[in-house]
Amino acid sequence: MIEKRLSVKFYNQTAIEEVAKAFRSFGKIYFKKRGGYFLVFFKDVKNDLGQKIANEFGNYVLAQVIKSRHD
């Protein structure tokens, strides 16, 4: 299982939820808020691409956060 920590000061829950939906096909993704961070967990990720998917997930969330600031 891979874990990604996203600071609540830079990332928001709505963006994480949206991206988690988009990444559903890659495996089980769930998150919780703890200690000023969103802890995102990637489970049963296909084809051993866990780390790459986690990194892409982070970039996608960042893009969503930036987009939401302009809306």
Binding site: S7, F10, N55, E56, G58, N59, L62, A63, I66
Partner: protein, 143 residues
């Protein structure tokens, strides 16, 4: 401040020099080239982590981080210009939006001043009233 670790780069930014929106703006430009991760405190120090995607050498990553810093400067300058010109832009937009209204109200005022019963151009006359006699003369000439 830069710290490099194989294919990962850490850049620490002073938020007093660069705003968070400038950082977001610059990050968005490079999001397709590298993995960007933000951490730290937006009020004290912002940490930006760059992780290379496939087929990127550490040197290439260093170049991208340099370009990112330039982009950050670009965004910071843009923000300053936007703030400096805000009142001028608002004035121009207000003028652009309101000038057709002024023009319309002037036309409406003119239209109100004029009486529709007056006919200075003679457009309310019938054809016969205006040309009827001439045509009779022409008819006589032809005979």
């Amino acid at each position: 401040m830069k710290q490099q670790n194989s294919a990962c780069y850490k850049l620490v930014i002073n938020p007093e020099l660069y705003s968070l929106s400038a950082i977001y703006g610059a990050a968005y430009v490079f999001i397709d080239k590298v993995y960007i991760h933000l951490d730290g405190d937006p009020n004290k120090k912002i940490e930006i982590y760059f992780k290379s995607k496939e087929n990127l050498s550490p040197k290439d990553l260093e170049v991208i981080v340099g370009d990112f810093e330039n982009e950050l400067l670009n965004y910071a300058l843009r923000e300053k210009i936007v703030k400096a010109n805000q009142k001028v832009r608002e004035h121009i937009i207000a003028q652009a939006l309101l000038s057709p209204l002024y023009a319309f109200s002037e036309l409406a005022d003119k239209a109100e001043d004029q009486n529709y019963l007056e006919d200075p151009l003679g457009i309310a006359q019938t054809w016969e009233e205006r040309f009827g006699q001439k045509s009779k003369k022409k008819a006589k000439r032809k005979k």
